[in-house]
Amino acid sequence: MKWLLVAIIAVCNTFGDVLNTAGMKRQGEVEDLRPWTMLQMIKRILRNPLVLAGFGALAVSFFALLSLLSITTVSFAVPATAVSYLLETLLAKYILGEDVRWRRWAAATLVAFGVVLLSF
């Protein structure tokens, strides 16, 4: 049960972030950081199915995390976070078409191991 929840957290977190990125790229770059522009961005997000699906996936991941925390300790959730970094980089390359070269792979790997060490 624990590992099933860890898998759900990792997968939903990954898909949530990938869907949010795809949705925001489709919506177009936020050109400036004024509050009015941000408000317009939020209004468009409410009609953006990719970002809404991303929120849904992140919500599932959040509730799976709450369930996991209710049956075990925080350190058990760490592998899910660490795996998400690598899984998201993989999908960023193959689904979002980002140019992921050795520096970004190395960065994601270092962060994943770093997150595990931080939990000690």
């Binding site: 177009g28 970094y85 980002e98 994601a108 931080l118």
Partner: protein, 155 residues
């Protein structure tokens, strides 16, 4: 931090002010993440342990000013994170914003005198290395949205 840009053939090279806006968003995402979580955990500490299936108990927790303030800051984090993802690659944003972990650990150490074990120092070092490596790549390597994710009639 100056971004080292490696232009590839079909890569849009960011202009100076565009790059600066992306960097402001990166900093905003990191700072709001750190302080939102600090205030939220302070608030939840005041509220006490909630083991309940009733949503009302969670709503009651929002009445605590620290919790409410933490949630407000995390809302700004969510909005700035989405704005950042509209401008930068996910594979850039993920490792760069992981510096929030480092900031939380260091703030805990210097402000709250939390003990940092050798393993945790190594973790901080690895994450910092990852942040520096990712910072050396261009923030965005794609020109538009991924084509296959757009409905045909909108292309």
């Amino acid at each position: 931090m100056e971004t080292f840009v490696q232009p590839a053939a079909d890569v849009k090279v960011e202009n100076r002010s565009g790059g600066r806006k992306t960097q402001i968003l990166v900093i905003l995402v990191i700072v709001t993440n750190v302080f939102g979580n600090i205030f939220l955990s302070r608030g939840m500490h005041d509220v006490g342990r909630i083991v309940s299936a009733s949503p009302l108990d969670y709503v009651r927790a929002f009445a605590d000013p620290w919790t409410a303030f933490g949630i407000a800051i995390l809302a700004i984090w969510m909005i700035s994170d989405l704005a950042l993802l509209s401008r930068a690659d996910l594979s850039f944003v993920l490792p760069v914003t992981a510096s929030a972990y480092v900031l939380v650990a260091l703030l805990g150490h210097f402000l709250l005198h939390d003990h940092i074990s050798f393993a945790r120092w190594m973790g901080i070092l690895l994450i910092t290395g990852g942040v520096i490596l990712a910072e050396e790549t261009p923030a965005r390597t794609t020109t538009g949205p991924p084509e296959h994710l757009i409905p045909r009639h909108r292309r």
